[in-house]
């Protein structure tokens, strides 16, 4: 275990790069013997890689063309160097941030669903608390971090709580919207069986709002990362946020951006997990020609 951890810490960028190259090679190998239909599918699988690489190339070229200095916007090559140079730190702190975020996100999902259902189930609750929720959400969470630190001290709790506070609202809104847009005809099926409000909720309300819920998850997960990072920036000894704080104190802009890139990679990883779940759970709803899968 320790050896593996050590290996991962020291060579994760290499492993990542090898993985990506291997994936491309494997896809290209499959393209050779493939029929016309499969080609479309394969090019869809390659699209994210090419778009990402393309974006970085354009970025690099623009930086070079306009001779943008590294402290304004480092070129991807500078960032890459910084990633390699600080791979241990980035790896370690990413791991920490990922944990904080997951914990906060998990809380947000549980609480968001519960509150969304509650808002959907009770008009009084909806009318009474929605404005408060909206008001609370218009407040930058960075203003709340100090209070959390004073209450809970420096450590993991402020990060988890900030990730939670920042990310539950989209879930609440979307679950409530999902419930509100159920066709009454579908509800009638349950009502005609004498189902209780709770049963209608679990048998129709929840499954029907799943597409909305998953839409919100994609937003919530990115927000959760933002939340834990701003908390770590202000109140933690570990995490990408803390790394960023120190990088910016050191004028190490490439490291700052390397941390941001690590964050983006973490975000995309969580996003892909969400999409995988979405495809499994709401395949029934994704039959449109506008659906990506």
């Amino acid at each position: 275990m320790d050896a593996l951890g050590e290996f991962l810490l020291t060579s994760w960028p290499a492993a990542l790069a090898i993985g990506v190259v291997g994936y491309i090679a494997w896809l290209l190998y499959k393209v050779i013997g493939a029929s016309a239909l499969d080609r479309t599918k394969l090019s869809l699988q390659l699209a994210p890689l090419f778009c990402t690489i393309g974006t970085f190339l354009v970025w690099e070229l623009l930086c070079k063309a306009f001779a943008v200095s590294t402290f304004v916007l480092p070129a991807p090559s500078d960032i890459g160097l910084a990633i390699w140079q600080f791979r241990r730190q980035i790896g370690f702190h990413s791991f920490h941030t990922a944990w904080m975020t997951l914990a906060g996100f998990g809380l947000a999902v549980a609480f968001g669903i519960a509150l969304g259902l509650l808002l959907g189930a009770s008009r009084f609750f909806y009318a009474g608390f929605y404005p408060l929720l909206v008001g609370f959400n218009s407040i930058p969470k960075v203003a709340v971090v100090p209070i959390l630190v004073i209450w809970f001290g420096v450590g993991w709790l402020p990060a988890v709580l900030t990730a939670f506070m920042i990310s539950f609202f989209p879930i609440v809104v979307n679950v409530a919207t999902g419930l509100a847009t159920i066709e009454p005809e579908t509800e009638d099926v349950l009502k005609a069986l004498g189902a209780s409000k709770l049963q209608i909720m679990t048998k129709v309300g929840i499954p029907r709002s799943m597409p909305y819920f998953f839409g919100s998850l994609k937003v919530a997960i990115t927000l959760a990362y933002v939340g834990s990072v701003i908390a770590e920036y202000n109140a933690s000894r570990y995490g990408i946020g803390n790394l960023m704080a120190r990088a910016s104190a050191d004028f190490n802009v490439p490291l700052l951006f390397a941390a941001l890139i690590a964050l983006a990679i973490l975000g995309v990883a969580m996003y892909m997990a969400t999409v995988w779940l979405e495809n499994r759970m709401t395949g029934w709803a994704q039959r449109s020609s506008f659906a990506a899968t």
Binding site: T70, F71, P146, I150, N234, R246, A249, F251, N252, V253
Partner: protein, 317 residues
């Protein structure tokens, strides 16, 4: 006489110390020099450096030490200071007597500190500990955000904090910490020879408007002299810009700044703005304790002396 537009950035928000610049502006010292200066606030003394380095602002007020590090990180940008305003840096360790902190540095050992990771005062800790031969293996440094630094000291969750002496002191006082319980260890009193904040011009602006930079410095010296003469008037200008600031607080802040950082014994003797090359060399050596220079500069690499008014005109007190 044609006027030159100058975009000037402060190191911080419109608070007491910015009176030094606002006075020069409002009293027309810049206009008299043929400059049309606009002043913007910033959110940290490092920001002043990058804003000027990128050319977004023509002239800026920022931390010289940060600038020296910045030069080393970005060798292609030849950023230099051309006037020192804070002859002594505001970096300090602020502790509470009741928690066992005294003006003796040894009292810091084994204590718990509130040390925001991006804080400029904390960044000088390697110098402080080396110069004072402290062992920090038993000290604990908590990365706390700026907004909670003083509250945590006030509530006793930490024994001391890193910070800028003037703002931390005022803040602690307003939190009900008795004045005589607050112990301020100015780093300059403990062998830290760094300079504080100074004026720097963007390389492009300097190349094309060298005269304007000199003119700015002339105007600023006059402004500083006026401010020292009448701090209350200067603070009024601040409050006019910052509609939530309180006059008494800002006056106090300004006075502390002038007394501690601007009017050092050396400035009283030699006038404001210049450097002592030997001290600057020491300062650069000390900066080398906080990080490893790729290319260690000499004093003349970081400071242009010939844009200052004549020494006689720089006397402020």
């Amino acid at each position: 006489q044609a006027t030159t537009n100058v975009r000037f950035t402060l190191d911080w928000r419109f608070e007491g110390p910015s009176a030094l610049f606002l006075t020069a502006l409002e009293k027309g010292h810049f206009r008299a020099e043929g400059l049309n200066v606009s002043i913007d606030a910033a959110s940290g003394s490092r920001e002043g450096v990058t804003r000027v380095a990128s050319g977004t602002y023509d002239i800026g007020f920022g931390d010289i030490n940060s600038m020296i590090r910045f030069r080393d990180e970005n060798p292609t940008v030849d950023l230099k200071a051309n006037m020192i305003v804070y002859d002594r840096p505001p970096f300090a360790i602020v502790g509470r007597k009741s928690r066992g902190i005294t003006t003796d540095v040894k009292s810091l050992e084994g204590k718990k500190f509130g040390a925001p990771a991006p804080d400029a005062a904390y960044a000088q800790w390697p110098i402080f500990k080396t110069v004072n031969k402290l062992d920090d293996s038993k000290m604990r440094f908590e990365n706390v955000g700026f907004p909670v630094r003083e509250p945590m000291l006030a509530s006793g969750e930490v024994d001391a904090i890193f910070g800028f002496a003037n703002s931390s002191y005022i803040n602690l006082k307003s939190r009900g910490v008795p004045e005589n319980d607050i112990v301020v260890l100015h780093m300059y009193d403990y062998g830290v020879e760094l300079y504080g904040n100074g004026i720097m011009a963007s390389p492009a602006f300097l190349a094309s408007n060298r005269a304007a930079v000199a003119a700015f410095n002339r105007g600023l010296v006059k402004g500083i002299r006026d401010t020292i003469a009448d701090p209350a008037a200067g603070a009024k200008l601040v409050v006019a810009r910052n509609d939530v600031a309180r006059l008494d607080t800002e006056t106090e802040r300004l006075k502390m700044t002038i007394d501690n950082y601007v009017l050092s014994p050396w400035v009283k003797a030699n006038g404001i703005g210049g450097i002592d090359p030997a001290r600057m060399a020491t300062a650069i050596d000390q900066i080398g304790l906080t990080f490893t220079f790729k290319n260690k500069p000499k004093p003349e690499d970081v400071f242009i002396s010939d844009l200052l008014p004549a020494a006689a005109d720089r006397k402020v007190a």
